[in-house]
């Protein structure tokens, strides 16, 4: 018991020192009013942050999560729904547990951020004051980055890059195909949400076609990039499971996307024209609207952050998490957003409640399913360095790996999914 007591003493002493070393926040710590954290966006970044600050600050910080939707469908694992391997309910979550844990839910759209007054203005005009604000608005799609494409066209040629009705639309169109029908995917340019995602999706398209016994259908990927994540192992898996079904074209092979026509299903490149029974158009991306409206983006359309703490370089009272931020070497992924949120939660507890601060460290792993029980993965550890979030180490699946390794990867991914959604939604 004496050792435990010494440990507690050390912890308390550390907390006191931290409080004394942050006099700026002393009035809040002394309890005249609880410091306020407002979080915009209830996905992997925002949900995790709200959850962790509420849990670890133990009531010392007032946490409000602004999210207009009552339920959230995860983009990650939505490809498995498209492939018929999961049902839609299994990738859809509500905020009841976060609310029960004490996170105040505001199911309204955040209309704007008044940075001067440190207030979030909700749709309808209600103002939420904050001591610290975190935004995790995800990405918006640049529909006009693909000639002929638009938000209206997406009802016929779905992007399904924001999970929900678009995902269901894409799955229903896939399931309505006949043998011999052509699928065309227009892949997105960098940077975009989930770098291996388009290629896992194509794998799931092929899985469905194969399961239906189709022999004549093909899938063409028109890619604006010269290479993509885990390309060698994807190509190996496609050849193994779906020989001759998938054709990937880089810009040298197609010459550029000239036009897509939702009325005819025609997709023209510089060198050819395709009549697609199913077109999946994934356009270029940018930080969500609230980040752009609040002038938190740079000319790239994404938000620069301080790699030591995830604070916006435009406003030190605002943290930017997930796909909307410029995270250096980290990919835009749910795992990354979740990792970034934990650094931000630690910093916010330190600044608002006097908790101890530790050096930032980040991690990411992305699993991609190629065929049932055949998954590949890529992962890395990251730390601040050279003014960005810099990769410190990493790993990636290799060609020629044994089937039981890929089967184990898939089982890992299922366990990971259960873990991360509990981490995000409570």
């Amino acid at each position: 018991m004496s050792k435990i007591s010494r440990r507690n003493f050390t912890r308390l002493a550390g907390a006191s020192l931290a409080t004394l070393s942050t006099p700026l926040f002393a009035p809040n710590v002394l309890g005249q009013a609880k410091p306020k954290l407002v979080v915009i966006g209830g996905g992997p970044g925002g949900g995790t942050l709200a959850h962790y600050v509420q849990k670890d600050a133990a009531g010392a910080i007032d946490v409000t999560l602004v999210e207009p939707q009552r339920t959230f469908t995860t983009c990650f694992f939505s490809n498995l729904y498209i492939g018929g391997l999961r049902n839609f309910n299994s990738i859809t979550f509500n905020y009841d547990k976060l609310s029960q844990r004490g996170v105040r839910m505001a199911h309204l759209m955040a209309a704007s951020i008044d940075r001067d007054k440190k207030q979030v203005v909700l749709a309808g005009g209600t103002r939420l004051p904050y001591d610290r604000l975190a935004i995790a608005p995800g990405v918006d799609l640049k529909f006009d980055s693909v000639p002929g494409y638009s938000e209206e066209a997406a009802q016929i040629m779905p992007h399904a890059w924001k999970a929900g009705p678009q995902t269901q639309l894409l799955a229903s169109k896939l399931n309505a195909l006949k043998d011999g029908d052509l699928i065309v995917m227009v892949a997105p340019p960098n940077p975009y949400r989930c770098p291996p995602g388009p290629y896992e999706r194509v794998s799931m398209f092929a899985h469905v076609l194969k399961k239906k016994g189709f022999k004549k259908s093909r899938i063409v990927i028109l890619d604006p990039k010269p290479a993509f994540s885990k390309q060698a192992v994807f190509a190996e898996g496609w050849e193994k499971h779906y020989p001759g079904m998938i054709e990937w074209q880089d810009p040298k092979m197609h010459g550029g996307i000239k036009n897509v026509d939702p009325k005819t299903g025609e997709i023209k490149t510089d060198l050819a024209s395709y009549k697609a029974a199913l077109a999946n158009i994934i356009p270029a991306q940018m930080a969500g609207k609230i980040a752009r409206d609040a002038a938190l983006v740079d000319p790239s359309g994404f938000c620069p952050i301080d790699p030591e703490n995830m604070k916006s370089k435009m406003d030190a009272n605002i943290f930017v998490l997930g796909d909307a931020c410029i995270a250096g070497d980290m990919p835009k992924s749910a795992f990354s957003a979740n990792s970034q949120a934990k650094v931000a939660a630690m910093v916010i507890r330190s600044e608002l409640a006097g908790a101890r601060a530790f050096p930032a460290r980040y991690s990411n792993t992305c699993w991609s399913l190629i065929e049932t029980d055949d998954a590949i993965k890529i992962g890395a550890a990251y730390e601040p360095g050279e003014g960005k979030i810099k990769q410190a180490s990493g790993f990636v699946s290799q060609k020629g790996e044994a089937a039981d390794i890929h089967k184990q990867n898939y089982k890992e991914s299922v366990d990971w999914y259960a873990g991360i959604v509990a981490d995000i939604f409570g």
């Binding site: 990792s339 630690m346 890395a380 790993f395 873990g419 981490d423």
Partner: protein
């Protein structure tokens, strides 16, 4: 990977068995255990929770809450020096210092599964 699964499942089973004796182990573990820092462990553990939060007693990503403190330290050092296989775990462990490992072991041994 089969080796990893068996090993981790074995660890989970061991942890269950060891839980009843855990208090005595902590008290007799000596200075190496005393170096653990609960708050540092809480922060570092947040990285583990992304995958392990919902882990079952057995499975590819097992539950590690309530696991014996010495056992966690032994496993993390094994992943750090790559004597235990699993690229994700090796990658996570390779930047851990001894104090980090002791803090993680302390945190998980003292914390119930959420």
């Amino acid at each position: 990977m089969t080796i990893v699964r068996c090993l981790l499942q074995g660890v989970a089973t061991t942890a269950t068995i060891m839980t009843a004796a855990m208090g005595a182990i902590v008290l007799s573990a000596g200075s190496a255990v005393a170096a653990g820092d609960m708050e540092l462990g809480r922060y570092l553990a947040s990285e583990c929770m992304t995958c392990h939060r919902a882990g079952a007693a057995s499975g590819p990503i097992p539950n590690i809450y309530g696991m014996n403190e010495k056992r966690i330290s032994y496993l993390l050092k094994g992943y750090r020096d790559k004597s235990l296989p699993n690229d994700a775990m090796q990658n996570s462990a390779m930047r851990l210092k001894d104090g980090d490992i002791e803090s993680l072991a302390l945190f998980f041994s003292k914390t119930s599964k959420p």
